[in-house]
Assembly symmetry: C2
Homo-oligomer: 193 residues x 2
């Protein structure tokens, strides 16, 4: 059994190295992305949608060319465990999701996903084993269509210098950068010695 172009064991190592831990969600995510890759519609270039920011984006970044930084991955905060790969021009795509009904056949992942057991009650190894055994069998597949231009990251446009902080920013953001318009997360800032 492969996940993308990796063996299951290679993928497990990759997850540990990139994500920092063997999160069960990333194992399920591996199967989700793998199935989406196998059911791609016609086309040459695909972008990705992830319907939750939790865990799943890392499976996409590891198994497809789509990353946050290159703009080919759009993350929505729907809290749905689903991935869509769609053709960049026409918007035809395949959506793979964790199917609640099918998941019932796999009690450990089911209890884990719906938080029906405390961490102490969970059998972690059994959870991983059942995810591996369940594989594509826990998933549903849909054909979807999106409007690619609505998902495309807007071009940065002209770059200027913020009159307040003196750093570069996109002039389209207004007369100063967003951080200097009150969105800064910094309580204190000082030049480093």
């Amino acid at each position: 059994m492969n996940i993308g172009t990796y063996s299951y064991e290679e993928y497990v190592q990759l997850v540990k190295s990139f994500h920092g831990s063997l999160a069960p969600g990333l194992l399920i995510g591996g199967f989700i992305v793998d199935l989406a890759l196998k059911r791609l519609p016609e086309g040459e270039f695909f972008d990705a949608i992830c319907e939750t920011p939790v865990c799943l984006p890392d499976a996409i970044q590891l198994l497809t060319p789509c990353t946050i930084g290159n703009g080919w991955l759009t993350v929505f905060d729907f809290g749905r465990f689903a991935v869509t790969l769609y053709e960049k021009q026409g918007g035809e795509g395949v959506r793979v999701f964790l199917d609640r009904e099918k998941l019932k056949a796999w009690p450990e992942p089911y209890h884990w996903f719906f938080k029906l057991k405390t961490k102490k009650e969970q059998n972690y190894q059994e959870l991983l084993d059942q995810i591996k055994a369940g594989g594509h069998g826990m998933l549903g597949v849909q054909r979807v269509r999106v409007e690619p231009e609505k998902l495309r990251r807007p071009k940065l446009g002209a770059v200027g210098t913020c009159a307040v902080c003196g750093e570069s920013y996109p002039l389209a953001h207004g007369d100063r950068c967003k951080a200097c318009r009150g969105e800064s997360p910094y309580l204190e800032m000082a030049p480093a010695v």
Copy 2:
């Protein structure tokens, strides 16, 4: 010269493989993250802030344990080319940014960053060479403090089943999932045959 724990050449290969192309912004980003790692304040665990969604998040994901999926990386859309690594508990951090004044010493990266040359006028190899030569010399460093709890991803909380689509979603989102409350990017959906 190293970037993080990689040689420059290893990092270049990593960028090509993960990001899909040798984006100049990811080379500068490599130096930004590398300098931040070298100037970390005291502490054991660090989270990351990226002040632009363009390119730079991938340098963080490649060189630190912080990813979008594990929640240790927060991306702001300020359009400032800056990265902060901060200690998870107290919020003390180091911010490294592309310094406009220092960048002036390196004409190709300067012209590229401020879009003062068309793509045709640019000398791509000279651009990469000057970035490599400029390295940390193009960057500024600040000490910052953040409120870690404001940046922490909220816990998912209880998971339920959406009455409309039948998929699982965080009950904290309301009586149905956000996608079924009008935020769905899908124009059409059909079960796959």
